[in-house]
Every structure is written in C-alpha cells, then in structure tokens.
C-alpha cells in the first residue's frame, strides 16, 4: 500500500509558525498578563485523578494466563493477529496471579476446581476484575449437573460473555465492555433491573437482607 502524505495547507503552516513564535516568546519571558494566562490555558487539560487513573487502568489490563477448557482455545485467539487484543493494550498475559489484574474464566469450573479458582482470584492484587467466558462458567450450559458450579457462586464476576464457546470477537467485545466499565461510562444493561452498580459480592456474614458490597464501582479508584 502506498502511503500518501498531504502537504500542509498555507493556513496550517501559518498557525504552526505563530504557535512556535508564541512558545519562543514565553520561554524568553516576553509574555505577561493576559497573554500568558491564555497561553497556559491552551496547554493544560484538566481532569480528575480518578478519571486519569481509570483511563490508564482500563487501557492496560494484564490478563492472567489461565485456561480451564475449550473456551481457552478461543481465548488464545484474542492475542493472535485477527483479533489483536494488543491494539487495546491487553496483550501482556501474566503467568502469575500476583502480576495480573484480570482473570478470564474460560471454561467449566468443577466443584473441585472452584476453590483453586477462588484462591487464584484472591491472590490477585486490587484492583482486579473477572470475566466469565462461555455458558458453562455463567449458567453451567450443557453441563448443568452435579459436577459443576457457576462462577457467580464463589467469586464476583464483572462481565459474562455468552456463547458455547464464544468467538474471540465476542470475548474481545466483553473486554471492551469491561474497559467501558472501568472508565466509568458503562451502559447499565440488566443491572438497571436489579438496581446493581459495579460488581457485587454478597457476603453471608453480613446479617442484612440483600446485603451487597459494591466492590469496584465504575470509574472509581476504591480498593487501590
């Protein structure tokens, strides 16, 4: 493919030159009063720390290298060339839960595996997120029997990706929804109906009907 570079217009060239001269004046100390204020305002972007931190976090998930079953094959696809997850900054799959902040439950979780998964999740450092990938892990799918346990029963899940197995594109979409959530502008979806915010983990110790703890409300740095 040939790359064409359009020549700058005369107006753009003039603007660039005037900004250059303005900067030179500022460095020389020639700008004063209103002119200096205007110059500073042009170069400053105001935001909140929360938003800036959420922006950084949402664009650099470190997923855990962790596969459970056939969904893991599709999960491997998201780092490959077609659904290149590195475009969004999620390509650094960490081999240790202590370096990861996103766990993708890719496959069925048996009753014997559930404590292991929970321990991996507990070993991850805050802030951390979890994606339940595929039918088995969310609603037990075709293996709705004595052997499996749905992931919501033993850990808080941020995003459920349906499918059996979901295609890599679906998982990439799920991760992007999680990014939206971390950035703090996630469409509520089903949460609207249940008046839920963020990811909730219901703890049995709390003796209050419907007691739920908002672990990681979107756009907030709580738990950092």
């Amino acid at each position: 493919m040939e790359i064409k570079r359009e020549p700058l217009s005369a107006q753009a060239k003039a603007d660039f030159r005037s900004r250059q001269l303005l900067a030179k004046d500022m460095l020389d100390g020639a700008l004063e009063g209103e002119a200096l204020d205007r110059y500073v305002e042009q170069g400053v972007l105001t935001t909140t720390l929360d938003k800036a931190v959420s922006w950084a976090r949402g664009n650099s998930f470190f997923p855990l290298t962790f596969g459970l079953a056939c969904c893991a094959i599709e999960m491997m696809g998201i780092v490959a060339a077609r659904v290149d997850i590195a475009r969004f900054g999620f390509e650094a799959l960490r081999a240790s839960p202590r370096q990861a902040d996103l766990i993708i439950l890719s496959g069925r979780v048996s009753t014997k595996m559930a404590p292991v998964v929970r321990r991996l999740y507990d070993q991850m450092l805050d802030p951390k997120w979890a994606i339940s990938m595929g039918a088995c892990c969310s609603s037990m799918g075709v293996f709705n029997n004595y052997a499996l346990v749905p992931s919501d029963k033993f850990m808080p899940i941020d995003v459920h990706v349906p499918g059996c197995p979901p295609r890599p594109e679906a998982l990439a979409h799920g991760i992007l929804r999680l990014r939206d959530k971390v950035h703090g502008h996630e469409p509520a979806g089903w949460r609207e109906r249940y008046e839920a915010q963020g990811t909730e983990e219901v703890l049995e110790e709390i003796d209050r009907a419907g007691a739920a703890i908002n672990l990681y409300p979107g756009g907030d740095t709580a738990g950092a």
Binding site: T111, N144, N145, G210
Partner: protein, 169 residues
C-alpha cells in the same frame, strides 16, 4: 474375538475349576462376555490372564437400575498377541456393593477402580488406596447412580425470575 464356541469352551474350562465362578455367557454382535460371580472374579481373571489376556483395556461401572443386583463392574480384557478381546461382567447388589480388587493382577486397575468407587460406590476390597478420584473428598453420594439427582442450577430467565432466586422488583 473368540467366537461363540471358543467362549463356551473358556466358560467350561473355568466352570471345571470352580463350578460357581461362571453364571453365564453372552455372545452379541461378535462380542464375547462372561457373566461371573463377583466372589470369584479375581480367580476368573487370573485364569484368563494365564491364558493370554494380559491387558486390562478398561474397567468401568454400570448401574442397571431397577434390575437386581443393581451395580455392575465390567472388565474389558485384551490378548495382545492373538488380538482377542473378552468382556468379564460381575454384578453386585447396591446394599452390599463389595467386590475384590484386581490391582495385584493388573496394576493399571488402580485408578479405574477408584473411579468406579467414586461414581457408583462399589467398594473394592483390598484396594491399596480407595479414595475418591474425581469428586471432592468430602462429597456425599455417588453421582453416577441412576437414583442420584442430576443436580445443577435453575437458570434465571425472564419467565421464572419471580419464582427463582435473586433480587427483583
């Protein structure tokens, strides 16, 4: 595969050694099966082992509910020189599911016997390490028995959200 005549000859030979050991024979679609008394199954397998069936290809359990005796243990034997296969079946009652282990004869039977114990609750007497192998060790019940509930979770759909678990308006 031994043909029907060969199967009968083998059964006769085993009956000569111990009249109670063989309860019957089956020959169905080219597959030869010896129905054995569970009390003498090790003896039968040892004799067959001496006749060349030196490889235990599979050991698995069956639940014949509601027939009695309910539980079955199936040994698939393979003669690797003659390329002959022979099935040995033993049935044990569900109230007293005891059968002798064949680990000393076929060391590879160790894990399959644990699996049959885990899933069907057949107790293999003399097994060196009879623990659950697939399910958690504190699990109660034997999930592959036909009278065991399938289990699972009710799936939350829109039509049953008022009667199912969860929070709703």
């Amino acid at each position: 595969m031994p043909d029907a005549t060969g199967l009968e000859l083998t059964a006769h030979e085993l009956r000569d050694a111990n009249a109670e050991s063989i309860l019957g024979t089956e020959f169905f679609r080219g597959q030869a099966t010896l129905l054995t008394n569970p009390k003498h199954v090790v003896e039968v397998l040892r004799t067959l082992h001496g006749k060349g069936y030196t490889f235990l290809a599979s050991l698995h359990g069956v639940d014949y509910y509601p027939e009695e005796p309910r539980l079955g243990v199936v040994y698939e034997l393979l003669d690797m020189k003659a390329v002959d296969r022979l099935t040995v079946k033993a049935r044990v009652p569900v109230d007293d599911p005891q059968i002798s282990t064949v680990v000393e004869l076929f060391p590879g039977a160790n894990h399959p016997e644990r699996e049959v114990y885990d899933m069907f609750g057949v107790v293999f007497e003399g097994h060196p390490d009879l623990r659950r192998i697939l399910m958690p060790e504190d699990y109660e019940g034997f999930p592959q028995r036909r009278d065991f509930p399938v289990g699972g979770e009710p799936v939350l759909f829109t039509f049953n959200e008022q009667t199912s678990y969860g929070k709703w308006h």
